[in-house]
């Protein structure tokens, strides 16, 4: 057995937890009601009791290495039943934010997004400003004269410009996510028998993500599950549409804009409908859900707001193109491009990163189960 570790209850972590909205953790007296009521807590490693304890001690390393942090879907049954009002659901949410920050690459970006409460004007404003400057520099800040009735956005902002920004941005986000993901996977596999079972766990985990099966198990989080599932598939649809459009433009040589009846257009608009519905449900739930919805931290609100703005500006761009002035459409479109850039660049550092960490945690969990000897 390894030597008994000397624990220095981490003042810094506990301060961070307190600052970010997890101060109720100190109220916990370890009665384990939370683990008892949790539908998702596995029998052999129940949460969130243990997470609460580690949060009290400030054991950031353990929290970062524990998949349980991500297996929670925050139905807040625990918060509702906690006899001491220690709000485990909210605390675990803050823990997730702190883990994202801790594993971020490079670290300063993690801290910057982590401080969204004060840094949000920079996070949102900078990408928009970047687009304004870029378009000004390339002479696209004005609507060109002689625009046809049925104009396409390509005539305002050339696709090449978009590719030159978004491909590197996506590449960067992928790289940063890769590094953080590697770190997280390394922590997950360091103390558990699930080592090397990535492939075994991948398929079942993806199936679970696709159906939100576990999210549905999670107590009374039904409206949130529906909103989240709808939103997720909306994003998938939007991403697929983007891919199909590249195929359409460069291989099929389709003329832009596509007719509203074109299958790609239908897919795109259907995705937009899903996104609007999903985001609408989530926002409504957050505004009117009470304790069950959990506390809204700045970190949380920041991400949801960006998502809502991306969807709003996206839909509004299309509406403007079809029925409003081109000048207005351009303005909205620039905002949309800026917000999407913001979403891309902050993906590994914002709440968006849950996509990465939760998926990995599920893969790890399923992989461990696949490897465990059958009884």
């Amino acid at each position: 057995m390894a030597a008994i570790p000397t624990l220095l209850p981490s003042h810094d972590f506990r301060e961070a937890l307190r600052r970010r909205g997890g101060e109720a953790a100190s109220r916990c007296y370890q009665c384990a009601t939370c683990s008892g009521v949790c539908e998702l807590a596995p029998d052999e490693a129940p949460f969130p009791r243990r997470l609460m304890l580690w949060a009290q001690w400030g054991l950031a390393d353990r929290l970062a290495a524990d998949p349980a942090v991500w297996l929670c879907h925050q139905c807040n049954d625990c918060t509702v039943h906690c006899p001491r009002d220690a709000k485990p659901g909210d605390v675990v949410q803050v823990i997730r934010a702190l883990v994202i920050e801790k594993l971020a690459f490079p670290g300063f970006l993690g801290r910057l997004v982590g401080a969204a409460r004060s840094s949000w004007p920079l996070l949102v404003g900078l990408p928009i400003a970047f687009w304004v400057v870029l378009l000004a520099a390339t002479g696209h800040l004005a609507v060109p004269a002689g625009l046809p009735q049925n104009w396409a956005f390509e005539q305002l902002v050339p696709h090449l410009l978009i590719y030159s920004v978004f491909f590197p941005a996506a590449g960067w986000a992928m790289l940063a996510a890769w590094v953080s993901g590697r770190r997280f996977w390394g922590l997950l596999t360091a103390n558990s028998p699930g080592k090397g079972s990535f492939l075994a766990g991948l398929a079942p985990a993806l199936g679970e993500v696709a159906t939100h099966k576990r999210f549905g198990t999670c107590g009374a989080a039904k409206p949130r599950e529906f909103g989240h599932l709808t939103l997720m598939w909306g994003f998938v649809g939007a991403a697929v549409t983007s891919g199909l459009l590249i195929v359409g433009i460069y291989i099929q040589h389709l003329a832009m804009p596509l007719a509203l009846t074109h299958p790609y257009k239908i897919l795109g608009n259907l995705s937009a409908v899903l996104l609007v519905i999903g985001a609408g449900v989530l926002v409504a739930n957050r505004l009117g859900g009470g304790v069950k919805a959990g506390a809204s931290t700045a970190f949380d609100t920041y991400f949801l707001t960006v998502v809502v703005l991306v969807i709003t500006t996206g839909v509004l761009s299309e509406v403007a193109r079809l029925s409003l002035t081109a000048e207005f459409a351009l303005a909205v479109y620039i905002a949309h491009l800026g917000l999407v850039l913001c979403l891309f660049l902050t993906f590994p550092y914002s709440k968006f990163a849950h996509l990465l960490y939760r998926s990995l945690a599920m893969v790890h969990e399923r992989g461990s189960q696949a490897q465990a000897p059958s009884a």
Partner: protein, 748 residues
């Protein structure tokens, strides 16, 4: 009493179940001066008629054959100094618990009337004491509990004397900055109100305070204590009516807790040492005077440990919370960790715990301390923490929340020591002197520990119970000690926190005042509150056997040089244990005597062997067993009709002659039902059941010599709430008796 009137009630179903004419005929047969039947005996007019008959002298005593003596006590309230009244429980013991119109039921009723009549003809009227009573309350110990007691008694209009051994009042909490909250919202320290309380008391003309003083001697009895104090200004004598002992506690010796490092590092201190440190200059690391950055508190240091203090000291958890809050108030950056086994914060103090837990830099963890190592910088090794593993905490300062040890003196042990010393010098033989010397050596540690220095035959201080606390049964009688008029309060009484100690002080003061008031009326205090009868000793026949002086649980009796008992009536609780102890049967109360009960036994009809109707005598303690029987009857439970119940004050008042009389009369079995004995005793007189067991143990040999089965006598302990058991106990005993067959002494 002579010329007895018998008053038969036929209400509450009595008249339906029993033949009233049979009972009136019996009364005439017994020679009653009058016998009247009423459908509602408790009606005010009927009671007024009875009272008038007693007042006019038409009758010398009234036997009310109606309901249990425990029922309708207000309707049947007669002055025991003027009227002899007896009650027969026809309702509970007969008609509610036995089939109506049955021969056995009728026989039972008639027997109970015979027995009640016999008792009433043997008792007399009580002569109330009329003594001069001192109203002063003496408080020994000037800490939180004692001062609260002093203020409570003063507020109730009694003169108060406070004696404190130390040079200043206040006790262990005197210099503490803030106290644990005692009112809503219970979430932050309150200013220490002790200085204000001290100022208030010292400026109160009705309160005399003696600091740097001790008690040299206390003689007398409640209402008439004569107290001698040793003060810096010389000896002071004064009178007191009742005494509150609030001598507090001392911290457990931390040097006995080897693994906690108290002896090996200056940076391991005890909680009282931390209090002193915080009061005198603030938080400092003893080794270098720097402010420690990490302070670890170790709870249950010595407490709940069979090798040290087996009990929970009750104060340490809240005291630690108080200290953590105090430290964080002065040093918000200092980190504290509290290692506990269980945090015990009774009542609303849970809210204080929660508030302290939420302070930044405050950590609470369950765990066992495996050891504390290091000298300047310390490492606290933990096992079984909530983390599910062992760990080591870094600490600059370790505070041991040491348990508390009562500042009590074991009066009985001191007495054993002084007796043994005396015997070792004056013993008759060499062997006796040697034996006494051994005992004296064994008890030598008790020498000089006296606090109250009572002039009591049973020792100079309150007898102690478990762990040295002069406590009593917590639920049945929370403040009673075994010395009437002397009440323990605060941490000497039982382990408790500061808030509880205040309540305890107030409670003890109220008991003290109650005792003074009762003494002024010549009445007994708990549990026979209001009883004005006192025991009478027919000393011409006393053989100086000292059983009464030794067995009295309350130290009522002193001895003269020859060993003759000397009654201190105001100490007496009227239990009758002396009466049960006396082999010469010279002790009796006006309305309770060996003769009265013996005559009840003689009055019982004992059918011939051929009738196949055995008879069983049940002596029931009036404190638990009799109420339990009444509850069983109220619930219409039923038991064997051969049983005849005689209520007695305490199983300890059972005189062996009653057993002998019963068996020689041909009664087939005797069962005694009393309160629980042992460490968690519920006996209102502490040792009654235990003494009965011992005395009957002695009888068993005699029985065997007489060729009587020992099974014919049984002692059962039963709590008040076990009413459902009592019919079972009686039926089972009756079955045993039936199996044994008739008492061979029948008919002799």
């Amino acid at each position: 009493m002579e010329r007895l009137g018998v008053f038969l009630c036929t209400g509450c179903g009595i008249g339906d179940a029993l033949k009233a004419e049979g009972l009136t005929a019996l009364a005439e047969e017994l020679g009653a001066a009058t016998c009247q039947t009423s459908p509602c005996l408790c009606a005010p007019e009927t009671v007024a008629d009875i009272r008038a008959a007693l007042e006019s002298g038409t009758i010398g005593g009234a036997l009310l054959a109606a309901c249990s003596a425990r029922a309708k006590t207000e309707a049947f309230a007669f002055d025991p100094a003027r009227h002899a009244v007896g009650r027969v429980s026809l309702r509970e013991q007969v008609v509610w618990s036995h089939p109506a119109g049955n021969e056995d039921t009728q026989m039972l009723a008639e027997d109970l009337v015979r027995m009640g009549y016999a008792r009433l003809s043997k008792i007399g009227l009580a002569k109330p004491l009329a003594e001069t009573i001192e109203r002063t309350v003496l408080v020994v110990g000037g800490g939180l509990a004692g001062l609260t007691a002093a203020r409570t008694a003063a507020d109730l209009g009694h003169p108060v004397v406070v004696v404190e051994k130390a040079a200043a009042l206040g006790g262990s909490l005197a210099a503490v900055e803030g106290l644990v909250p005692d009112r809503p919202p219970y979430d932050s320290l309150h200013d220490n109100h002790l200085p204000r309380l001290i100022a208030e008391l010292t400026s109160n003309a009705g309160v005399r305070v003696f600091v740097s003083s001790t008690v040299k001697a206390i003689t007398g009895q409640p209402g008439q204590f004569h107290v001698e104090l040793v003060t810096p200004a010389g000896e002071v004598t004064l009178a007191a009516g009742a005494i509150v002992q609030a001598t507090g506690s001392r911290p457990y010796d931390a040097s006995k807790l080897d693994r906690l490092g108290y002896s090996s590092s200056p940076n391991v201190i005890t909680a009282p040492e931390l209090d002193a440190m915080l009061a005198g200059g603030g938080l400092k690391r003893p080794s270098d005077g720097a402010v420690p950055q990490r302070v670890v508190f170790i709870q249950c240091a010595g407490s709940r440990d069979p090798e040290h203090l087996p009990y929970c000291s009750a104060d340490c958890c809240t005291a630690t919370l108080r200290q953590v809050a105090t430290i964080h108030r002065a040093h918000p950056d200092v980190e504290t960790a509290v290692v506990y086994r269980d945090m015990r914060t009774p009542g609303q103090l849970e809210r204080f715990y929660l508030a302290v837990q939420q302070q930044p830099g405050s950590l609470f963890t369950r765990g066992e301390v495996a050891g504390v190592s290091g000298n300047g910088h310390l490492k606290v090794a933990l096992r079984d923490t909530l983390l599910g593993e062992g760990t080591v905490l870094d600490a600059d300062l370790v505070v041991l929340a040491v348990g508390l040890v009562p500042n009590s003196a074991d009066g009985e042990a001191i007495r054993i020591h002084t007796d043994a010393v005396k015997r070792s010098q004056t013993g008759e033989s060499e062997v006796q002197r040697e034996e006494a010397g051994k005992v004296a050596a064994q008890y030598a540690g008790y020498q000089g520990t006296e606090i109250l220095n009572l002039d009591y035959r049973q020792g100079p201080d309150l007898p102690t119970l478990r762990y040295g606390f002069p406590d009593s049964h917590f639920i049945c009688f929370p403040y009673e000690t075994r010395r009437t008029g002397i009440y323990a309060a605060g941490t000497v009484h039982a382990p408790m926190d500061a808030g509880q100690a205040e309540e305890d002080g107030a409670g003890a003061a109220m008991k003290a005042v109650q005792c003074i008031v009762a003494a002024a009326r010549g009445e007994a205090v708990h549990p026979r509150a209001g009883d004005i009868g006192i025991p009478d000793f027919f000393l011409q026949r006393c053989t100086q056997c000292k059983r009464c002086t030794e067995e009295c649980p309350f130290g009522t009796l002193n001895e003269d040089a020859k060993g003759t008992p000397q009654l201190n009536a105001l100490r007496c609780r009227r239990c009758g244990i002396c009466m049960g102890a006396c082999p010469e049967r010279i002790i009796s109360f006006p309305d309770y005597s060996v003769d009265a009960v013996a005559s009840m036994i003689k009055a019982m009809s004992v059918p011939e062997e051929s009738d196949e109707k055995p008879r069983i005598l049940a002596l029931l303690c009036e404190n638990d067993a009799l109420p339990a029987l009444d509850v069983a009857a109220t619930r219409r439970m039923s038991w064997n009709p051969w049983v005849r119940v005689i209520p007695i004050r305490c199983l300890g008042s059972t005189n062996i002659v009653w057993i002998a009389d019963s068996l020689s009369r041909g009664i087939d079995g005797v069962i005694l039902i009393g309160c629980k004995s042992g460490d968690d005793y519920q006996c209102h007189y502490v040792r009654g059941s235990q003494l009965a067991q011992t005395r009957l143990g002695n009888v068993q040999e005699t029985l065997q010599r007489l060729a009587l089965e020992p099974e014919r006598i049984r002692v059962v302990e039963l709590a008040h709430d076990e009413f459902a058991r009592i019919p079972e106990v009686l039926d089972e005993f009756a079955a045993t008796i039936e199996e044994l067959g008739p008492n061979p002494m029948k008919g002799f």
